[in-house]
């Protein structure tokens, strides 16, 4: 089987897995990184949202060979490391607002929220309700009200 190397949460990893296996399963089933969740496998529910080179993406829809040796993959486990702290400000905001109910979608929600806020900041503006309306991550517990509060609160500390 071919070897695939990439940067995962700040460290270089090499996995021995067939081409074509989507990155979500390389993370979850081969590397045991279980923060990104399966919710649909077709880039719809967004429960597996992680970052590639600082941008949000869904590893359920990326074959492993499309990730290069220098590509930086960040999962929820590596998010605090991007700010050199125990917790990222968005995670702090999530705890403070007591957002999670069952919690299953929340790693993906937080990774999406960080990307949405970073994008707005890069455009020199605050995150708006219109931005929040475009987030596609689904929460079947219906925690959206607190998610919206937490994204804005987290943004204030990013």
């Amino acid at each position: 089987m071919p070897n695939h190397s990439f940067m995962l949460n700040g460290e270089k990893v090499t996995v021995d897995v067939e081409d074509g296996v989507r990155l979500l399963w390389v993370l979850r089933d081969v590397l045991g990184v279980r923060g990104p969740k399966y919710g649909c496998g077709i880039n719809v529910c967004k429960a597996c949202t992680s970052h590639v080179n600082g941008k949000a993406f869904n590893p359920c829809s990326v074959p492993v060979e499309k990730i290069g040796e220098t590509d930086e993959i960040t999962t929820i486990e590596g998010l605090p490391g991007t700010v050199g702290a125990d917790l990222h400000p968005m995670q702090e905001a999530w705890i403070d607002r007591d957002v999670a109910q069952c919690g299953y979608c929340q790693p993906g929600q937080i990774m999406a929220a960080v990307a949405v806020v970073n994008k707005a900041k890069a455009e020199g503006r605050e995150v708006t309700d219109a931005d929040l309306d475009q987030i596609r991550n689904i929460c079947r517990c219906g925690t959206y009200t607190r998610i919206r509060e937490a994204v804005k609160a987290g943004a204030a500390h990013m």
């Binding site: 995670q91 929340q106 517990c141």
Partner: protein, 770 residues
């Protein structure tokens, strides 16, 4: 700091409870899980009130839980923490946190030093390990506190010896006992000293409401940090040795069965695949990664036997329901009495949670172990044992925390299948349903019609009649057994399982004269279960729409009409709260409107005021692969659940229920076509998404004198949905009769294939980064 009489200075006005000190290496105190509450006897059903007013579903579940004489145990550990195995299922409703609060309250220990885990299936608990009906806190409130209070008394006895003083002179604070003069000893140091070597019966009093310092205060969830760091462990995150990813290739019609595999060797040779096996519900594939299992499921060539609803569609099911409808009995009462007649249809809905159906199973010759989130683990273990031909004691069921339930995890379809797969393959399996299967094959909230006739004259409502006709709801998860066991006690006579649930939950909260609600069901072979409540969201939406019609006929404002006709002061208080906080009656633009609704259940009452925007600019918003439609712009809810253990958790449950209420009435349903459901993704099944979320959501928790908690988990759904449809009717001038509104519009998605049964995994993820 709190002075503790240790429950010893007997107060004649206070109730005393019995429990046990249990022989264990460290202090373990126990209470009977069936303890608590009063048990009124009902000889006959008075003619005035409806059954839920005297004995509701919660009473039934609490009574069922009372019957067992088995123990739940609070343990004090040498590190100063307390631990407790909760015989219930946590799926996000927050019961591990509220349970820790109850124990912390009695023990005078910080909440974060109480470790609550979920108990495995304990067959000796009989009816006492079923999670449902928003009943967990109602039925466990007293016994958990009794066990903790007994532990506290034993700690104080041991501390008195240790510190050379009397119990009455000791105080406790945050897990430390202090004697006058400042000498202290910690619970951790007392844990072994307070242990007993033989069991002992103990009497205890509980902390009263006026002394609560934890109960009633807002607490964040104890698992919040684990949830946001990805550390929280769900079934699919568990590493059981050799339990490799396993998926099932399913039939093109609902509940179809496999006949033969035509290309077994080719699929066995696919990358990563270790096993292919015929199982009752399809063809199982086991492999190194779930991704490779998906590829194998898609590659399988299988011949199938048609399923239980082959050839059926929405229209044929509706026809069957119409044929089963029983007539309304109130005749037209003459020229002075007028009637409102209404007829509503509620289409199938999916109770999929975000965590798909999944379970781990390791079936060996002499026994089996199963891991999964399950609200009825005793029944699950028994059914798996029967299926495997083993004694019930040979199956160990580990209850995992679930990624959402909404009624889905009352059943254990994946656990049974995982055991079948493990048996067929002869190896441990980690079974996961594809989302498409979870949506199409997983359990549904049954389709139903509701007909209402209300008559009125001279400013009064004289009769209210409601006939609910539904596809059969499956209660084969243990609740049926509870009903059988308690049959003689229920105030509803011998009317069968579903009718019993219906009669014990449905209540018209208004003085509408002769009131009568009935359920009739038809069994059409669907996989059904409750969905964040059973009948109430549909029954209440129909009822509140008719209430608005009655108000209009009698020339009254919808809020004032409800206020005037409701039977209860608590109902009047929540109505007043939302009317005031939501500025009822404010001037609104054409195409927008307010709606108001009231609902009583779970020993509580809530009212909701919503504002809806049905203007073309809003309705016609476009979102890729999404449904927009009317937008609810504001929701104001007031809820009275009696004693709110954790107001922060209660608010969260209400907020979630609000999103379900919107989805039920506006967007989310399943379309049945030619023997199968079409929806196979979250972009087909339109549960509330960010673009549907009301920008303003307010939940007001009413102050209450009650010393007893009521139910919470499902309570926000019915009243919200009802308020939404009432607002829609007022904004558009047309009373809707088919729900969700989206269902009868042109299909908003292209259905995925039935063969292969699951879609291909995309490869273009890097084209959609942001």
């Amino acid at each position: 700091m709190r002075t503790v009489p240790g429950g010893r200075a007997a107060d004649p006005g206070r109730r005393r409870f019995l429990g046990f000190l249990v022989a264990a290496p460290t202090l373990a105190a126990a209470a009977e899980l069936g303890l608590g509450g009063s048990t009124p006897a009902y000889a006959a059903l008075p003619s005035g009130p409806q059954p839920p007013e005297i004995y509701d579903l919660n009473d039934m579940l609490t009574d069922a839980a009372r019957a067992t004489s088995n123990l739940i145990t609070v343990v004090i550990n040498t590190d100063g923490t307390a631990s407790f195995e909760l015989p219930r299922s946590e799926n996000g409703q927050g019961i591990t946190t509220s349970t820790a609060m109850l124990i912390a309250e009695e023990l005078d220990l910080p909440v974060d030093r109480v470790k609550v885990t979920l108990a495995p299936a304990r067959p000796e608990l009989v009816f006492n390990q079923l999670t449902g009906g928003s009943n967990t806190t109602v039925s466990t409130f007293t016994p958990i506190r009794v066990a903790a209070a007994i532990a506290k008394g034993a700690l104080l006895d041991a501390a008195a010896l240790e510190l050379g003083d009397t119990v009455a002179n000791l105080t406790t604070k945050a897990g430390v006992v202090e004697a006058p003069g400042g000498r202290t000893v910690s619970y951790g140091d007392l844990a072994a000293k307070a242990a007993v070597s033989s069991p002992r019966r103990v009497e205890v009093e509980l902390t009263t409401k006026r002394d609560y310092t934890v109960i009633g205060t807002p607490q964040n969830r104890l698992d919040a940090r684990a949830a946001v760091t990805g550390a929280k462990q769900y079934t699919l995150d568990l590493d059981v040795p050799d339990a490799k990813p396993t998926m099932i290739c399913r039939a093109p019609t609902l509940n179809g069965k496999p006949k033969a595999i035509r290309n077994r060797a080719a699929v066995e040779a696919m990358p990563g695949i270790t096993d292919v096996a015929l199982v009752p519900t399809g063809v199982a594939v086991r492999g190194e990664t779930f991704g490779q299992c998906i590829d194998a499921v898609r590659a399988l060539d299988v011949s199938w036997i048609d399923g239980t609803v082959a050839g059926q569609s929405d229209a044929t099911v509706l026809k069957a329901l119409r044929a089963a409808e029983v007539p309304l009995v109130v005749p037209k009462l003459g020229p002075l009495v007028k009637t409102v007649d209404a007829d509503f249809t509620f289409w199938f809905r999916s109770n999929s949670s975000l965590e798909p159906n999944c379970a781990i199973a390791d079936v060996r010759k002499d026994g089996a172990e199963v891991w999964g989130a399950c609200k009825s683990p005793i029944t699950a273990a028994e059914e798996i044992a029967t299926m495997l031909g083993m004694a019930p004691t040979a199956v160990k069921f580990h209850v995992m925390e679930g990624g959402g339930s909404f009624g889905r995890k009352l059943f254990y379809d994946a656990a049974v299948e995982a055991a079948q797969c493990s048996k067929a393959i002869g190896k441990p399996v980690r079974l996961m349903w594809h989302r498409t299967d979870d949506s199409r094959v997983g359990r549904t909230h049954p389709m139903a019609t509701t007909r209402i006739r209300a008559s009125y004259a001279a400013g009064e409502v004289l009769t209210y009649e409601q006939r609910h006709t539904s596809v059969k709801t499956d209660f084969g998860h243990g609740l049926g057994e509870i009903i059988t066991a308690l049959a003689g006690k229920l105030p509803v006579g011998d009317i069968g399982f579903s009718q019993t649930i219906f009669a014990l939950t449905q209540e018209v909260p208004y003085n509408f004269g002769a009131t009568n609600q009935l359920l009739n069901e038809v069994d059409l072979g669907f996989n059904t279960s409750s969905m964040r409540n059973i009948y109430s969201p549909d029954v209440a939406a129909a009822r509140e729409l008719v209430v608005d019609q009655l108000a209009k006929k009698l020339g009254k404002d919808p809020y004032r009409f409800r206020r005037e006709f409701t039977k209860s002061e608590r109902a009047r208080a929540v109505l007043d709260k939302v009317a005031q906080a939501g500025s009822w009656g404010r001037s609104m633009a054409p195409g927008t409107a307010q709606g108001i609704a009231l609902h009583k259940e779970y020993k509580g009452v809530n009212a909701v005021l919503v504002e809806i925007d049905c203007r073309p600019g809003t309705v016609n918003r476009t979102v890729r692969d999404g449904v927009t439609g009317p937008r609810v712009t504001k929701v104001v809810m007031a809820v009275d659940v009696g004693l709110a253990i954790n107001p922060r958790g209660l608010e969260a449950q209400m907020q979630g229920g609000i999103m379900d209420g919107l989805a039920n009435m506006l967007t989310s349903s399943l379309h049945l076509q030619d023997g199968a459901f079409l929806e196979g993704s979250w972009d087909n099944y339109f549960y509330t998404r960010e673009w549907n979320v009301p920008p303003v959501v307010e939940v007001h928790i009413m102050p209450s004198d009650s010393e007893e908690p009521g139910g919470a988990g499902e309570f926000g759904v019915a009243s919200t949905g009802a308020a939404v449809v009432c607002a829609f009717a007022r904004a558009t001038g047309t009373m809707p009769t088919s729900f969700p509104l989206q269902h009868t519009k042109p299909l908003a998605f292209t259905p995925k294939t039935r063969i292969p049964p699951v879609p291909e995994s995309p490869t273009d993820g890097l084209d959609h980064t942001y």
